[in-house]
């Protein structure tokens, strides 16, 4: 395996992006920031991969408009996934492993505010037995939350603690669209939105975009003084039918964690949990103990731009390696209803976790 590291990361997150859903004008400064961090130019990037969805944009081929932001003459080596950019990062990591390229830039973007997000996401469900009922994402997460509450696996206080910690941490994140901790009691006094979920248990609808630069070996060292080396990356998915999987656990997250050799030694984990109880499910599935700092950026409850929030978790985790505050971190991304698909990316200060 080639040693591949995260060496660049830029993001924008906002409540309401006043511009076109192809977001080219938002991506231009994000890509410029990546060039500045790495000292590279467009020609230094061997492979490009983006994550976005036309259902969110409400127009066809929106990802083609977005690549205007790259500038593609002469043509570039480019691909796209209809998934969070974390999965675009996975594709780019594999592309680098093939030896065809040494560097890659992945980006994701989405203007969720253009439609009614919880309704748009209904289109990711089984079109025969679910979509005709238009079950919205928030309702599906609420059904999952109650299963755990009824089973005694978590309680409302534990969910409120997740919210309080996230919104307190978010005060330090300039991109948070929701921030400001209070107390568990104050949070529990607020009204229900989708019983048993209150609005603060649900990630805010967020517009945004993000980009991450990957590089192999010496190219990584050239771009970043302390690269975040990817020592394990894996993703897994659970089945389509909600009824035939146990929603109180995440089999796919556990399988992804097992595939990267477990999470022992991880000091910081940025988890993509768009609903408060899902963080509790993920901590258990990923085997993260009390000593692991969870989502110091504020996580998805502070800002959750569709198609880049997962990649942002990887970028935020990588930054803890770059600034020397951690030696081993984890970035996680989710997609699909009720944590159906999960991706785990473990990064370390040393290639392959070897001591130098």
């Amino acid at each position: 395996m080639r040693d591949v590291a995260v060496v660049g990361f830029a993001q924008r997150q906002m409540k309401d992006f006043d511009g076109s859903p192809s977001m080219a004008e938002l991506l231009v400064p994000i890509l410029a920031e990546c060039y500045e961090q790495t000292g590279w130019a467009k020609k230094d990037i061997g492979f490009w991969c983006s994550g976005s969805s036309d259902y969110l944009a409400g127009r066809s081929f929106s990802f083609v408009s977005a690549i205007d932001a790259i500038g593609v003459l002469p043509p570039v080596n480019e691909s796209h996934v209809e998934m969070d950019a974390a999965w675009a990062l996975y594709e780019a990591w594999i592309k680098i492993q093939t030896g065809e390229v040494d560097t890659a830039l992945v980006f994701g973007f989405g203007k969720a505010s253009a439609g009614v997000l919880r309704r748009t996401l209904t289109l990711q469900l089984d079109p025969y037995t679910m979509t005709p009922l238009w079950p919205d994402t928030v309702s599906l997460a609420a059904l999952q939350a109650r299963l755990g509450l009824d089973a005694g696996l978590w309680d409302e206080s534990a969910m409120a603690e997740v919210v309080n910690r996230s919104l307190t941490d978010a005060e330090k994140n300039e991109y948070a669209v929701r921030a400001g901790g209070s107390s568990v009691d104050e949070l529990l006094a607020r009204p229900m939105f989708a019983d048993p979920l209150r609005k603060h248990d649900c990630a805010p609808v967020t517009d945004g975009a993000a980009a991450i630069v990957l590089a192999a070996g010496d190219r990584a060292r050239e771009a970043n003084q302390r690269p975040a080396w990817i020592t394990g990356i894996a993703h897994s998915s659970d089945g389509l039918h909600l009824g035939t999987r146990d929603l109180t656990v995440s089999g796919s997250a556990a399988r992804a964690a097992a595939a990267v050799g477990g999470t022992e030694g991880v000091q910081v984990a940025e988890l993509h949990a768009p609903f408060s109880h899902q963080e509790l499910v993920l901590r258990s599935a990923l085997g993260l103990g009390e000593d692991v700092a969870i989502s110091p950026s504020g996580g998805a409850l502070a800002a959750n731009p569709m198609f880049s929030a997962g990649a942002i978790r990887i970028g935020e985790a990588a930054r803890r390696i770059w600034d020397g505050s951690a030696d081993k971190v984890l970035g996680h991304a989710t997609s699909g209803p009720a944590l159906q698909q999960n991706l785990v990316c473990v990064m370390e200060a040393q290639e392959n976790g070897r001591a130098k």
Partner: protein, 312 residues
């Protein structure tokens, strides 16, 4: 802006069996390899991946396994008033089914509550052929039986309409383009690096990846670079085929604009033909490209191929 489409989907033997059951007011489950009965029946076993071939007719009663209260319903949901979604384990089944329960408030539903189906009178073979109600609620009509449709054939095709609403915002560049059209002007923007002029203007130059900034007012006259004759009727078509849709390279622009070529028989349209914008009457103008009704021949001699060969 509304984007809508009626998807027609074939059902196959498993989903078809399930939906035929619903049309006939019967809940059909499928037996999994471990002996459990799943509703709806999956086409393949989620663990062993074998095809599901054994079906079980089940009663239309069950138990709430989990529920949530939809305080603000969105379009398309089973009710336009607040209601509950629930995971319902049908009696005789082992896996829960996502469906809607009609109750007046969240105080009227709880985990473990018994519910039963309230069937629609007209049923088509869809999960929308029923909702659930508390078992304690008396139904006005006896439970139906037999086919609810005009035929007893298997449900082999279903139509699932999808309609999504968007607030489509224009980028700053698009805004100036549309505002220009409202004044009868065609505005493009020039890339500061390669000096190419784009119309409509874009968020960034696709060659250089830098924002375009300098505004350029363009001629209303241009050259047909390429075209097609539309012969195929389609939903929403406004002009009777055959007609011509073409790329028009306006004088001074580096990218062609797509528009209609009219006032000339379709078979006479050709590459290099010189055309001019035909505007609608001024009182019909808005901030839209439809202010230009179409392009029509100017009668000038055709442009040399060399003059537009780099813009094909």
């Amino acid at each position: 802006m509304t984007v809508a489409f009626d998807y027609t989907r074939s059902t196959g033997p498993v989903i078809g069996r399930f939906l035929t059951g619903l049309r006939d007011a019967t809940i059909v489950g499928g037996r999994l390899s471990d002996g459990r009965v799943a509703v709806p029946p999956p086409e393949y076993d989620p663990v062993g991946h074998q095809a599901v071939t054994e079906f079980v007719d089940l009663p239309d009663t069950g138990t709430v396994t989990s529920w949530t209260w939809v305080s603000e319903p969105v379009a398309g949901q089973p009710f336009d008033k607040p209601f509950a979604y629930a995971l319902i384990t049908v009696d005789g089944a082992d896996t829960p089914w996502l469906h809607a329960v009609e109750v007046a408030s969240p105080d009227d539903i709880e985990t473990g509550m018994k519910v039963r189906a309230k069937w629609a009178e007209e049923r088509t073979g869809s999960v929308t052929d029923l909702v659930f109600v508390p078992d304690s609620v008396g139904l006005d009509t006896p439970p139906p039986s037999g086919s609810g449709g005009s035929t007893s054939d298997e449900v082999g095709l279903i139509v699932t309409p999808v309609s999504l609403d968007y607030h489509y915002a224009a980028s700053p560049e698009e805004s100036s383009f549309f505002r220009g059209l409202a004044e009868g002007r065609i505005l493009g923007q020039r890339c500061p690096t390669c000096r190419k002029v784009y119309v409509p203007p874009r968020g960034a130059c696709p060659t250089d990846g830098v924002p375009t900034s300098e505004e350029v007012e363009l001629s209303h006259v241009g050259t047909v670079t390429t075209f097609c004759i539309v012969n195929v009727p389609f939903l929403g078509q406004r002009i009777k085929p055959p007609y011509v849709s073409a790329y028009v390279l306006l004088d001074g622009a580096d990218i062609a604009l797509q528009h209609l070529i009219l006032d000339i028989p379709a078979e006479e349209v050709r590459m290099g033909m010189r055309v001019k914008a035909v505007w609608k009457p001024r009182d019909e103008w808005g901030t839209t490209i439809e202010n230009i009704s179409h392009f029509a021949p100017t009668g000038e001699p055709d442009a040399d191929f060399d003059s537009y060969k780099h813009h094909l």
